[in-house]
């Protein structure tokens, strides 16, 4: 076995690969099942962006909080939310992570530090400032990570939160997942500055831009700013440049994309291919070992779908429950 040139040991590398592969399979399966009409509502897929969630979440524990977006499945899986509970939630079943009352856009697991996917763009940024404030008040070294797309990076909530986090010196990392499109609108058109680093600088915090399709680039940059935040060094912004393999939502014909664009990004910017080729080339993990992971993940997703379809629907009385703790 060759010497490991990576910043992670073999077990951790396999864990990262498994997480990314799980997200990919989860999303690819939803893509197929949504087209069949099996899944109600809106679904926004994270396929293509797996390296970002995984590279960041490898640094977190259950005490660290994340606030996610409408495109939240990948964040959930990487933060350790149970895949069966997620699938059941997306199918609207009582065994779902939110007992079928949240759906794809509101999956949460507070016990894992996952404060919710969010249907309101940019809304997670103020919330994560509060999570970070709670960690700071408790002195438990917890950090908060909030994700926005390039689109929601223009929301007032996001910009206000950059300022608040800087003024209060909160342990927050603001992650801009720049996939080039705010729904259908190009980032180059909708974002007034050339670089998110400039925006971070304007709010008095460090900003870093990385290739979000490179797991190791994300992992190393995130590690440094998360460590800094944990040590009381304050907030930072991390921009991950990445690609979205599907539309804004399932059913999006994506006619705003250039001809051949999707084929090109799948061929050259697939973060899973990039990671697995590097692992194999370095001789650290064999192709057969990765394929074994693929088979396990396939079985996991298959079982999650089977279980979700077999699970009971919420009871009629669940319509009225859990509005208040007491009322």
């Amino acid at each position: 076995m060759a010497q490991n040139p990576f910043p992670l040991g073999k077990d951790e590398l396999l864990k990262a690969y498994r997480t990314m592969r799980t997200i990919r399979e989860f999303e690819e399966r939803l893509h197929v099942d949504f087209a069949k009409g099996d899944i109600p509502g809106f679904v926004h897929l994270y396929a293509g962006e797996e390296a970002c969630a995984t590279g960041i979440m490898m640094h977190l524990n259950d005490n660290d909080r994340i606030a996610s977006t409408h495109r939240g499945h990948g964040h959930c899986i990487a933060k350790g939310v149970d895949v069966h509970a997620m699938m059941a939630e997306i199918y609207g079943r009582s065994t779902g992570a939110c007992r079928g009352k949240g759906g794809s856009m509101h999956i949460a697991d507070l016990s894992k530090g996952m404060m919710g996917a969010n249907g309101i763009l940019g809304a997670g940024a103020p919330l994560i400032c509060g999570a970070a404030l709670a960690a700071k008040v408790r002195g438990d070294r917890g950090v908060g990570i909030t994700f926005v797309g390039d689109g929601a990076s223009n929301q007032g909530t996001f910009l206000e939160s950059l300022n608040l986090a800087a003024v209060w010196n909160l342990p927050v990392v603001f992650v801009v997942e720049n996939n080039g499109y705010a729904e259908s609108t190009a980032m180059e058109w909708a974002v007034s500055c050339d670089s998110y680093v400039d925006r971070a600088t304007g709010f008095g915090m460090p900003g870093v831009t990385v290739d979000g399709t490179d797991f190791f680039a994300v992992y190393e940059a995130a590690g440094e700013i998360i460590r800094r935040a944990r040590d009381g060094g304050g907030p930072a912004l991390l921009e991950c440049n990445m690609v979205r393999f599907y539309g804004h939502f399932e059913g999006d014909a994506q006619t705003y994309r250039a001809k051949g664009e999707l084929e090109a990004i799948r061929a050259s910017r697939d973060c899973l291919t990039i990671l697995s080729e590097r692992l194999i080339e370095a001789g650290v993990i064999g192709r057969d070992e990765l394929q074994a992971v693929d088979r396990e993940v396939n079985a996991l997703i298959e079982d999650a779908v089977r279980a979700a379809k077999a699970a009971p629907l919420p009871a009629a009385e669940d319509l009225l429950s859990d509005v208040y703790v007491t009322y």
């Binding site: 992570a97 919710g116 940024a125 400032c129 909530t157 300022n163 608040l164 859990d322 208040y324």
Partner: protein
């Protein structure tokens, strides 16, 4: 020990007592300390009208001034509540709710339901409501119906210092998000308030005056106008029962229904605008559930369907007056009461 203090002092006392009792209680808002980072005194303002004055000296950094960023810090209060603190966030004037309402009605109010009953968000958002301060259209509104409309929010609006203290203590201890509405024209009003801590349960209206001829239901400032009207009506031999709702969500339907079943007449007074407000809500509920007991058409006395005007002469016409309430009561007593239309 009981002594007379103002509603402003009562609110300050409630915050102080709860901060002493529970280390997870923090207080944040614009200028609630006042002067943070400036060269002059610490604790310079203690809130724009001095409600939190003196708390910084007692509790230090658990009181946090914020940038003027309502979305960010109200959202931060909500996020902190979801992570185990009990924040009390002051929104100064609740009119500013427009800036940050998403964090309240799409986030705080929905966490518990959306997340399948697994979230607890014990946040209190307190601020000023109401007209009469010559503060014009953006600092004077009674927006309570916006809040009562939203499942997941609790809404409180005290009419006096005693209730303000007990209801704020309950709000801080409560495990749901609470919008705590403080009528700015009641801040200086004094009444007997015990020095010790006490909580007033939500959903329990206060019957301020017994009467068998008509039921007047209100909350906040207009409770006092209703009491004035009742005193005037008593001189003519009409005994009005006056109910102070205290909490608007949950609301004490039982006390309202019990009273109307006995009096057969209902006047609802609401400082909010007339469409889809507490008055229409209560009128509809009583109409649906106690129609047989009614001897006359239900009367509603509300602010008009206009923004709050600045000119004092106009603003005085805007807020329901004791005279307009007494007139509404008389309409319910007239032979044509059942068909009358509010003047």
């Amino acid at each position: 020990m009981s002594r007379k203090i103002s509603m402003k002092q009562a609110i300050n006392e409630a915050l102080d007592l709860e901060m002493r009792r529970d280390p997870t209680v923090i207080v944040m808002g614009e200028d609630i300390v006042g002067g943070t980072g400036a060269q002059g005194e610490d604790d310079a303002w203690g809130g724009v009208l001095g409600v939190t004055k003196g708390l910084y000296a007692k509790h230090g950094n658990r009181l946090m001034d914020t940038p003027l960023s309502e979305s960010a810090y109200i959202g931060a209060a909500i996020g902190a509540a979801a992570c185990g603190l009990r924040p009390v966030a002051e929104l100064m004037f609740l009119d500013f709710m427009g800036v940050c309402f998403d964090q309240i009605f799409n986030q705080a109010a929905k966490f518990r339901y959306m997340f399948g009953g697994k979230a607890v968000t014990p946040v209190v958002i307190r601020g000023m409501v109401g007209a009469g301060f010559r503060a014009a259209a953006q600092h004077s509104q009674m927006l309570t119906p916006l809040f009562t409309h939203i499942p997941g929010l609790k809404v409180v609006c005290p009419s006096n210092a005693y209730d303000a203290k007990g209801l704020l203590i309950q709000s801080i201890r409560d495990n749901d998000p609470v919008i705590f509405c403080e009528h700015k024209n009641l801040y200086g009003l004094e009444c007997e308030v015990p020095a010790e801590s006490y909580a007033i349960p939500f959903g329990e209206a206060n019957v301020l005056r017994d009467g068998d001829d008509v039921t007047i239901v209100s909350y906040g400032l207009t409770v006092h106008r209703a009491m004035e009207a009742a005193t005037a009506l008593a001189k003519d031999g009409t005994e009005a029962e006056v109910i102070d709702l205290r909490t608007l969500s949950p609301i004490d339907w039982d006390t309202i229904i019990e009273s109307v079943e006995r009096t057969g007449r209902l006047v609802v007074v609401d400082e909010a605008h007339p469409r889809c407000n507490l008055a229409t809500d209560i009128a509809a509920f009583v109409g649906q559930n106690s129609f047989g007991a009614l001897k006359a058409g239900i009367q509603m006395v509300t602010a008009p369907h206009t923004p709050v005007p600045f000119a004092p002469s106009l603003e005085d016409l805007y807020v329901p007056s004791a005279d307009s309430i007494a007139s509404a009561v008389r309409r319910t007593l007239s032979p044509k009461g059942a068909r009358s239309i509010a003047a």
